[in-house]
């Protein structure tokens, strides 16, 4: 296929861009990182390195002309793609990676030339920049869902028109986790049917057939990985902080395209084992335990390093590592995946999230909640501000306005004053005046 032949050139562009902006990177240069990781025997890698290798492998495969590459919007369960032998590519998660690699500023500016707006979500705007700069691999198909935000729907449409590749849209009922009885069953059927149509669409377009055994394996992998992650939660709830915030935040369990892969099982098992070891050594010398809401600025680690290293306020639970779904039923794959989609608390009224926050505060014995409000996100930015109102007088709750991808307006000294008051509040509550 002609569109696939261009991928190798795009990979070259991507690597060249990464190299050119190497100095801005909060990570090591992407090329070096890939080389470095591939030289270490797999069993010697840490969980974070295994995760890095898997992500690198997925991204590299996405540029491979022989692969079926599916661009998809956030929260699209990746299990089906593994079941179909396709490569999932979450553009917005890759944009987070681009921010870490120091590439987002220029790409956001490129994207803004298209949207003519400096007020939109920079994840999506950065993706537009990457598309117009031709550094992303051309997809075979695009899958967009209504979960979670408005720009993603347009982003899928833009990419589809730009690359002249077909897109498939899935409508997800809002507040699915609040539905009960027949209403819930109807919603599950509605989503499951659309997932089946999506598979039929793939089969029609590619001539491939869904391998039910492969899908069952992917769901089984997903269940096993989930089990390990729940064990990780238990360990973290019952021990001092066991891992650095920047590291654990980057696992972004609910967002990454690793669910369904065999590697994910091993990654979370390795992480579990590392935390057991860390617990045996007594963990970190924490003074305060905090929960982190939403994502982090990917271009800079100062806030979290300051919180943990200077203030002793360790992140012990993150919203993006909250496993909200039940184990998959291997005998009922589509309805099972539909239930996972509908269980997403982020796509529900805020009362659902507030209840989870309360439970997490209790279970993880949190001293405070730290929300990083991505300013372009109508959804999370607003919900964080409303939630912080709800927790007034109950738990110290700070909301820092910022941008996860676009570094242009970032200033740590401005944030520091507020972070200090947040830590003081936790101190007063914990130790008294």
């Amino acid at each position: 296929m002609t569109h696939r032949a261009i991928r190798s050139k795009q990979f070259g562009e991507f690597l060249a861009l990464a190299k050119a902006k190497k100095d801005r990177s909060t990570m090591k240069d992407a090329t070096e990182k890939m080389g470095e990781l591939s030289n270490i025997p797999y069993d010697k890698l840490t969980a974070a390195q295994k995760r890095g290798r898997l992500i690198t492998k997925l991204i590299t495969r996405a540029y491979d002309p022989n692969e079926y590459v599916i661009w998809h919007s956030l929260f699209m369960p990746s299990e089906i793609f593994y079941g179909m032998g396709m490569v999932p590519f979450s553009t917005e998660m890759v944009s987070a990676g681009l921010a870490g690699a120091g590439l987002s500023k220029g790409l956001v500016e490129m994207g803004e030339m298209y949207t003519q707006c400096m007020d939109s979500c920079s994840f999506s705007t950065c993706t537009i920049g990457a598309i117009t700069s031709d550094v992303f691999p051309i997809p075979d198909f695009l899958i967009t869902t209504s979960q979670l935000c408005d720009p993603e729907k347009k982003l899928g449409r833009f990419a589809s028109e730009n690359y002249k590749r077909k897109d498939f849209f899935i409508d997800i009922p809002y507040g699915g986790c609040l539905l009960e009885g027949d209403a819930y069953d109807t919603a599950v059927d509605y989503v499951a049917k659309q997932l089946e149509y999506m598979v039929a669409f793939f089969e029609r377009e590619t001539g491939m057939k869904l391998d039910n055994e492969k899908l069952a394996r992917a769901l089984d992998n997903s269940n096993k990985a989930r089990e390990w992650f729940l064990k990780i939660d238990e360990l973290r709830a019952n021990n001092p902080a066991l891992i650095k915030g920047t590291k654990i935040l980057d696992f972004s369990a609910v967002l990454l395209d690793i669910w369904g892969s065999e590697e994910a099982v091993d990654i979370f098992k390795t992480l579990h084992d590392e935390l057991v070891e860390s617990a045996a050594k007594g963990g970190m010398s924490e003074q305060y335990r905090i929960g982190w809401i939403h994502l982090r600025p990917y271009y800079d680690n100062t806030i979290i390093n300051y919180l943990e290293e200077e203030c002793g306020a360790y992140i012990v639970k993150e919203e993006i590592n909250y496993i909200f779904w039940e184990a998959h039923d291997l005998n009922d794959p589509f309805r099972s995946i539909a239930r996972k989609v509908l269980a997403n608390p982020a796509y529900s009224p805020l009362t659902v999230k507030n209840k989870i926050y309360s439970d997490v505060i209790k279970k993880f014995r949190l001293d405070g909640m730290f929300g990083f409000a991505h300013k372009g996100c109508r959804h999370f930015y607003s919900s964080l501000h409303i939630a912080s109102d709800s927790f007034k007088g109950k738990c110290p709750f700070i909301v820092i306005d910022g941008d996860c991808v676009d570094p242009r307006a970032y200033s740590f000294p401005l944030i520091k004053t507020r972070v200090d008051s947040f830590v003081d509040t936790m101190k007063i509550r914990k130790e008294g005046m």
Binding site: Y114, T115, Q116, C117, D119, S120, C121, S124, T144, S146, C149, D150, P151, K153, K154, L155, G156, R157, F158, S160, E161, D167, F168, F169, D171, P173, Y174, G175, A183, T186, A187, Y190, K193, Q194, P349, L350, T351, N354, A373, K375, G376, C377, R378, H379, Y381, S382, S383, L384, H385, I386, D389, S390, D401
Partner: protein, 368 residues
């Protein structure tokens, strides 16, 4: 009956009897009506935008206006409100309403989930959602909604739609007998007074205008179409002001043609609830809608309107913070550019100042 008499008589019919407020044209008013309430469209700025300090700075001014008013008791005359899940900002409006329920009036709020796609199965699914909505309305009003009462409501609303289409047909004339400002006022009245009264009063006035009337303006006017969500009425006022030299002939907007375009078709679906679901998902779309059936439709719909109403230029008004409008713009621009239709992009709130100089120079350019 002249226009000012019509306006006066309709204004006197406002705020009577039990009523339920709504904020988005994806709200099926027919169900509210069948439950014995007057549906009241909240479509203009309340003036309390700055009073909302809870929802966060990146909400659109429409949502800030509604929530600010709710916190100030401005909607106390309503028995409740319906907040559709139609965009991210409306999503959070409902959350604010729920979590600050002790501070808002009225306290009753129902969140109606509206699918983003128009497919056979989304129509089926939305039918079930609407049935639940009907049950909630029945519980609130203690009044049973039967197929018969619902069909009666649908007939009344279809009549309103037919009357408004006739009004818009008048705007296709070389020299329209109504101004854009008058049409906007009529739509606002239509959304806030009982439809039976509106149909009677407005129908009589419309028949008179159709029989023969003077053009609204005697001098030459450039014909302008507006695209937007909830746009600022000041645009129309300014476009049509003496000295600016324009007349607004159609609005592809939530406070425009999207409100009434396409009737509920009871001949296609025997089930009135399904007929409602189909109508609301297939009506002229707001840019919130997605999927292949909509991919090309929004720019194409606007293009059709521009051609039908012979608009010479389009003002694309972005309500600040509306992601759907920001992101739809490039698609609209591409389509209009292909057809050499001049386009002006403006950004602002649902009320307050607009960039008058830009509008004036845009219209001046059209005249060249």
């Amino acid at each position: 009956m002249d226009y000012s008499t019509l306006k006066q008589s309709l204004e006197q019919l406002r705020k009577k009897g039990p009523s339920i407020g709504w904020f988005c044209t994806y709200t099926p008013e027919e169900i509210i009506h069948a439950a014995g309430y007057t549906p009241v469209g909240i479509r203009v700025s309340s003036g309390f935008e700055d009073d909302d300090v809870h929802l966060g700075r990146n909400m659109c001014s429409f949502v800030h206006s509604i929530f600010g008013a709710a916190l100030n008791g401005e909607y106390e005359y309503l028995d409740g409100v319906i907040i559709p899940h139609c965009c991210e900002c409306m999503r959070r409006l409902y959350d604010g309403w729920e979590l600050l329920n002790d501070s808002v009036k009225p306290r009753f709020a129902y969140q109606l989930d509206v699918p983003d796609a128009n497919t056979q199965i989304s129509v089926e699914y939305f039918t079930t959602v609407l049935r639940r909505f009907m049950n909630a309305m029945e519980d609130k009003s203690q009044m049973k909604i039967t197929d018969e009462t619902l069909m009666q409501s649908i007939d009344i609303y279809n009549e309103t739609r037919s009357l408004l289409r006739r009004l818009y047909d008048l705007r296709k004339r070389d020299n329209p007998p109504v101004t854009g400002e008058q049409v906007l006022e009529i739509l606002d009245l239509c959304m806030t007074v009982p439809k039976e009264d509106f149909n009677r009063e407005f129908g009589a006035w419309l028949a008179g205008i159709e029989a023969g009337s003077e053009p609204a303006f005697h001098d030459y006017r450039s014909k302008i179409a507006i695209y937007g969500g909830m746009f600022n009425p000041e645009i129309i006022k300014y476009v049509e002001k003496d000295g600016t030299g324009g007349i607004v002939v159609c609005e592809d907007a939530c406070n425009g043609i999207r409100y009434f375009e396409s009737a509920v078709d009871l001949t296609r679906d025997e089930d009135p609830v399904k007929a409602l679901a189909r109508r609301y998902l297939s009506k002229m779309p707001c840019p919130r809608m997605a999927g292949r059936r909509y991919g090309d439709r929004m720019p194409e719909d606007l293009l059709k309107l521009v051609q039908e109403f012979r608009a010479e230029g389009v003002v694309y008004y972005i309500t600040k913070r509306c992601e759907n409008l920001y992101w739809e713009f490039p698609f609209i621009k591409e389509t209009l550019d292909k057809h050499n239709i001049p386009l002006k992009r403006l950004e602002g709130d649902i009320s307050g100042d607009i960039r008058t100089r830009e509008i004036k120079s845009f219209i001046e350019l059209l005249d060249f």
